[in-house]
């Protein structure tokens, strides 16, 4: 009886904690989505130039993985589709939007732009695969400094065809580095399906190079966070480098308007979107309020930024 009660209490505590995590992740994910949609709007308005690769539909991997980190010391290397990672890392809405708009308030003064972000321990670059050696160097330095920091580097499924990644796997395993290779497998690289890009298996590749590897439903934010938390803790305690494959789907275009996929195919993923899925687990009103708050926040930032460049709606 006692045992049973204890169990029930545990389960309840677990559920409460899950709910509170879900709320946090929902807030972050809805903020990411709002920012991304705002960026697409700004592009249509002619207030943005260049590329904007949004992570619509993939918000769970950003929120889930990056919240598994110790943001004060861990390091994030991101790629061309890095806005979500950036916001999950530091919630700097203004710095990001301004950066993509090419304004001096941008986190890199507007010089970097969408693909080239840096703040504290966050670094992104638009060369696919290219950050893996850099991240490996970060991990080498942190290991040699005994800082306990973990480095996570994000790649898409398509980028996994770049040789630099396998050179990095080999180094990471040889030197038992504190590094996590996160693969956001959204099944497409630009216009090309994964079947035409990638042979074999991601998990097999990582394991064959001596990494531990796991795969998770990348649209289940709790599952992502649980998996990432366990892996990051293993890495931090010296168990060596790892890979985490996040199965997900890109709901938006590759960059601005380029999407030749069958609309039905996209539609079929709608219910599986991490934000929709999280919402079903939470109070709908709370979700709506949170969404409104995010919109208000982003709108305010956008208005300030538009004003600063001498334009308003």
């Amino acid at each position: 009886m006692r045992n049973n009660t204890a169990e029930i209490v545990d389960i309840a505590a677990q559920r409460a904690s899950n709910i509170s995590r879900l709320k946090r992740f929902y807030s972050e994910m809805i903020l990411i989505r709002t920012v991304e949609q705002t960026l697409l709007d700004l592009f249509s308005e002619g207030l943005l130039r260049g590329t904007v690769h949004t992570c619509l539909g993939q918000e769970a991997s950003a929120a889930g993985v990056i919240n598994a980190l110790d943001k004060d010391r861990d390091i994030v290397c991101s790629n061309h589709r890095g806005h979500g990672h950036y916001l999950a890392y530091c919630a700097d809405v203004e710095g990001l939007i301004a950066e993509v708009m090419g304004l001096p308030q941008g986190v890199c003064g507007g010089i970097g732009g969408s693909q080239h972000l840096h703040r504290k321990n966050f670094y992104s670059n638009g060369i696919l695969g290219g950050m893996s050696p850099i991240a490996t160097g970060f991990a080498t330095a942190e290991k040699s400094k005994n800082s306990g920091a973990v480095t996570v580097v994000f790649h898409g499924d398509g980028a996994m065809a770049e040789g630099a990644i396998y050179e990095s796997f080999n180094l990471a395993a040889l030197w038992q580095l504190p590094i996590l290779f996160a693969v956001e497998s959204n099944k497409y690289a630009q216009s090309t399906r994964i079947e035409s890009e990638i042979a074999g298996s991601f998990l097999g590749r990582a394991e064959a190079f001596g990494l531990t590897a796991a795969e998770v439903d990348g649209n289940d934010v709790l599952a992502v966070n649980d998996a990432a938390t366990e892996i990051v803790s293993n890495i931090r305690t010296g168990k060596g480098p790892a890979m985490l494959v996040l199965d997900t789907y890109r709901m938006g275009p590759h960059s601005k308007g380029d999407d030749d996929r069958n609309p039905q195919e996209i539609e079929s993923h709608r219910d599986n979107c991490p934000i929709t899925r999280t919402r079903t687990q939470l109070d709908a009103d709370w979700c709506d309020e949170t969404k409104l708050a995010a919109t208000a926040k982003v709108d305010a930032v956008v208005n300030t930024l538009k004003a600063s460049r001498g334009r308003t709606d």
């Binding site: 590329t51 970097g112 080239h116 398509g158 216009s191």
Partner: protein, 333 residues
């Protein structure tokens, strides 16, 4: 009037029809996408087995193209952005450019590596460069760059169908949508070095035998030079502009001839200045026209720093029409 892009598209189509050994490979080159800049649009529909979409492995696919070329095919490999040629550098420099020579002339590597270069689109530091300088000077490869005053499709056909050597074929992002330039109004276009297949476009805003200033440039930079020449015509400043289609080897004689029309030379390029294309042109002209120039050669090029994503920053970093105008005026005072 056909555009730079349409000219390339049509040319590829014709090359595929003309020679069954021609194939194209690259990232996202299949229809309906047809490549990031749409150069292969329509091609895979008409020639489904000869257009191969590849994984994101720029180094390997460049090597694959070379290997196919060495085994009797005529491959065209598209590198989505010229910035990614860094990833192909080993295949280009230590393989493609070496085989013929180090195998004592017993092999040929007739592959074409096509890629768009240049800024002006807000893509930022890693997607806006003009990296041809990395390969200029590598023996045994030809580097070609159609300007606004060229027919790019003609040059591509020559490269794909007739060339025996490896060719780096540089397109320009901002030129794609533009209509091909023609002689019109004050502007007169003629072509030298036609027999090479990669002609030097000579654009004059005058019909004199001498000019006030000669501008030597290539590729995307031509986009701002042609309108500038029109403007200057109104001010009766006569300019001869030379845009070699072949960056390497350079049509030295033509450049000397064009420079001699004025004795005052402005060299403009989209890449950075030091150790660039213009360095060689300035060196050659300075050496060959020793004592015959009316003024020191002026070089214009991008600032020696990363290309910002922000519009104002990007404009400031890259050479603009006003910089060229100022340089021309500076030579005339």
């Amino acid at each position: 009037m056909t555009t730079y892009l349409a000219s390339l598209q049509t040319s590829l189509h014709n090359a595929f029809e003309a020679d069954a050994r021609v194939v194209l490979l690259g990232e996202d080159v299949l229809d309906p996408y047809g490549g990031a800049f749409k150069v292969s649009k329509g091609l895979s529909t008409d020639f489904p087995n000869r257009v191969m979409t590849t994984p994101i492995s720029e180094g390997a696919i460049t090597g694959v193209a070379a290997g196919m070329a060495m085994r009797g095919m005529k491959p065209v490999v598209e590198i989505m952005f010229g910035d990614f040629l860094t990833l192909c550098a080993d295949q280009i420099v230590n393989h493609i450019a070496k085989f013929r020579g180090m195998f004592n002339d017993q092999v040929r590597v007739p592959c074409v590596i096509r890629t768009p270069m240049g800024g002006g689109r807000g893509y930022g530091a890693t997607h806006s460069q003009s990296l041809e300088k990395m390969f200029l000077g590598t023996p045994e490869i030809r580097i070609v760059a159609p300007s606004h005053a060229h027919d790019p499709g003609e040059m591509l056909a020559k490269a794909v169908l007739q060339a025996e050597e490896p060719i780096l074929f540089l397109e320009n992002k901002l030129l794609y949508p533009m209509s091909l330039a023609e002689s019109e109004g004050a502007i007169n276009v003629e072509y030298w070095d036609k027999e090479s297949g990669y002609p030097t476009a000579i654009v004059r805003n005058h019909s004199l035998t001498a000019a006030d200033v000669t501008v030597v440039s290539y590729g995307g930079m031509s986009r701002v030079i042609l309108p500038l020449l029109e403007e200057l015509a109104e001010e009766e400043i006569s300019v001869t502009a030379a845009f070699p289609g072949s960056l390497q080897p350079l049509p030295i004689d033509s450049l000397i001839m064009a420079a001699s029309e004025s004795g005052r030379v402005v060299i403009a390029e989209e890449g950075t200045e030091a150790f660039g294309w213009g360095s060689e042109v300035s060196a050659l002209l300075g050496e060959h026209l020793y004592g015959k120039l009316e003024a020191p050669i002026v070089r214009l090029a991008a600032k020696s720093r990363v290309i910002p994503a922000a519009e104002a920053g990007e404009e400031d970093a890259l050479v603009q029409a006003t910089n060229i105008e100022d340089a021309i005026m500076g030579l005339l005072v």
